[in-house]
């Protein structure tokens, strides 16, 4: 147990000091911020996709809702984008309830396909909705008016904002994981029928996980909008947004607390590097690499990278059944 605490302390110290260590190379600071931003989305996805085992392929709906709400607050009401975040989160939670109530009754694949269809539906609708800029998308403030616009040229402030949000999400996830709800979700994931027969209100808990996940994903979308100051239907609601969340979580280890972060730490630098190495033509090749990696994970590491460590080196002196059962 002591070793684990030391490890956590080292990780915390490293993540807090990372921007200072890389102060001379802004590119790395930016990369760090991007990793954290992706980890926020993937960790939010993990709540419903990993812990509850309901594989959503349409989380872009919530991401886009958050991003658009933040920028709409600016472009229509001249408010700081920050002010749109609560609205975006609220909309996302409502959409999740609306999608979730009918579709979470369905088993596995049906839910996945329903979420894809809803995401595409929303993408097409937003592309044709002039109030939010149609296919052109909307922008945030070009120059920061006040500090509240949270528009910085350096990636450093974003890094710490994202780190704080990610830490909060992981803390909340950890609390859920060890709570009654966490046990219920894992029971549902293992066998919904068995969980129901033991009195778990499966539908209700799946819906809670989905709504919570949606709200946090919207928060991630708003943060994206803060940093980039621009969103269009493809970067907000595109299917790749949903897919990336899923892939990062699955690569690191879905249903594991740090799985999504590990996945983001691998995939985001990979994407950035291949984009910069391959230049304009690289966009296609990046996703070829992406696709290959995903196929290889699915084929050889179906439970993710962290699951390998988990089964190989469980903490000595701690029986596997106490506290947290395996989430794989």
């Amino acid at each position: 147990m002591r070793q684990r605490q030391l490890l956590y302390a080292a990780v915390a110290a490293l993540s807090l000091s990372y921007p200072l260590l890389t102060a001379s190379t802004p590119v790395y600071q930016r990369l760090g911020a991007l990793v954290l931003l992706s980890a926020i989305g993937a960790s939010a996805w993990n709540l419903v996709g990993g812990y509850a085992g309901q594989v959503s392929v349409g989380h872009a709906v919530f991401f886009g809702a958050g991003a658009y709400a933040a920028l709409a607050a600016y472009s229509h009401f001249q408010l700081p984008p920050l002010a749109g975040i609560p609205l975006g989160v609220l909309i996302a939670v409502l959409i999740a309830a609306l999608i979730g109530m009918p579709t979470l009754r369905l088993s596995g694949h049906y839910f996945s396909m329903a979420t894809i269809a809803v995401a595409e539906l929303v993408r097409v609708l937003v592309s044709n909705w002039d109030w939010v800029g149609g296919a052109q998308g909307i922008s945030g403030p070009a120059v920061p008016r006040t500090f509240l616009d949270l528009s910085f040229t350096s990636a450093l402030p974003y890094y710490y904002i994202f780190l704080a949000v990610l830490a909060a999400i992981l803390l909340a996830t950890w609390r859920i994981e060890t709570s009654r709800m966490g046990f219920y979700l894992r029971a549902i994931k293992d066998s919904e029928r068995a969980a129901r027969s033991l009195g778990v209100a499966a539908g209700r808990y799946k819906l809670y996980a989905y709504m919570l996940s949606a709200g946090l994903t919207a928060l991630g979308g708003s943060l994206y909008a803060l940093m980039f100051g621009f969103v269009d239907p493809e970067s907000g609601f595109g299917i790749l947004i949903s897919v990336k969340m899923l892939i990062m979580a699955a690569l690191g280890g879905s249903g594991l607390l740090f799985g999504p972060l590990v996945g983001a730490m691998i995939l985001v630098p990979l994407e950035e590097i291949s984009n910069s190495l391959l230049g304009g033509k690289g966009a296609g090749l990046t996703f070829v690499v992406y696709g290959t990696i995903i196929v290889v994970i699915a084929r050889f590491l179906p439970s993710g990278i962290l699951a390998v460590f988990k089964s190989a080196g469980s903490v000595p002196g701690k029986p596997a059944t106490s506290g947290r059962p395996h989430a794989a």
Binding site: P102, T103, A117, L121, V288, G291, P302
Partner: protein, 287 residues
């Protein structure tokens, strides 16, 4: 007015038959082994590029490109089965989704990298002048695609229900272990299913390429059409896919005509969600 409406309905039925053809591949794989192939639309995309290559390299029309695409895609299907699907189908659902989704990305962006993002189109005149019947005008490529789509879908259904091979496949889908005891090799039958499914996307794609633009991301839209068709018709049912494909083709055409072309996808997606909501087993699926 009614002439135009009739025209819209006939065009809808023709495109619907093509939807039915490539959707029956998806439904077949689902019925055989409970796997959803998220790369299905990208198989169609590859077939469309194959048709394009056959045209640019040899000047060959559909008579050449349909068989070529069918063979190439069937091979890709069998390879996907042996290299990937066979290993992931017994794993967790997330691994299944990831595996075929990864394959989709791989194919889609390989095409993007190789062919570029620009739309490719075959010449309009590839099959000669439009076909006129009374007050209806139908472009020859659409007519050919619709008729071939219908015929091949029906043939696929007959193959699955009336032949010894079909019975062996049915046996494997019902109980692979019992089938094995009867001397049927499950893996071989599942590989045949992938060959048939991907081969049908090959035929469909080569036909679609004669009247529709080809781009790396066209598979995404077509995949969703296939999901809708399969969910509507019932998972695992080829006749269901045929009926659903025809209905969806007509609904698409009518909504493009009555509401506006942009909203035809919206109507189809809404229909999909409604079907999943109210009747998840579909028109002809098993409950």
């Amino acid at each position: 007015m009614s002439d135009i409406l009739l025209q819209v309905i006939v065009s809808g039925l023709l495109i619907g038959a093509v939807y039915a053809l490539f959707s029956s591949g998806l439904t077949l794989i689902w019925g055989m082994m409970n796997v959803i192939n998220f790369a299905h639309g990208d198989f169609v995309m590859l077939a469309m590029y194959t048709a394009f290559l056959v045209w640019t390299a040899f000047g060959g029309g559909p008579a050449a490109s349909v068989p070529v695409a069918a063979i190439i895609l069937a091979t890709i299907g069998v390879l996907s089965y042996f290299l990937l699907v066979r290993h992931i189908m017994k794993g967790p659902m997330l691994a299944q989704i990831l595996g075929t989704f990864g394959l989709a990305l791989l194919l889609r962006y390989s095409a993007f990298w190789y062919f570029g993002a620009n739309f490719k189109t075959l010449p309009d005149s590839i099959l000669g002048s439009p076909f006129v019947l009374g007050s209806i005008r139908i472009d020859a490529p659409r007519l050919l695609a619709g008729v071939v789509g219908l015929v091949v879908t029906v043939m696929l259904h007959l193959l699955l229900t009336r032949s010894a091979l079909g019975s062996r496949m049915l046996a494997v889908s019902e109980d692979a272990t019992a089938a094995q005891l009867m001397g049927i090799r499950p893996e071989r039958m599942q590989a045949v299913a992938w060959a048939l499914a991907a081969g049908s996307t090959g035929i469909a794609g080569a036909l679609i390429a004669t009247f529709f633009y080809t781009s790396p991301t066209v598979g995404e839209t077509l995949a969703i059409v296939a999901f809708v068709t399969v969910a509507f018709g019932g998972f695992g049912s080829v006749p269901g896919a045929l009926v659903a494909g025809l209905i969806i083709g007509v609904i698409e055409g009518l909504s493009a005509f009555l509401i506006g072309p942009v909203y035809k996808d919206v109507v189809v997606y809404l229909l999909f969600v409604l079907v999943l909501w109210t009747r998840p087993q579909g028109l002809m699926g098993k409950a």
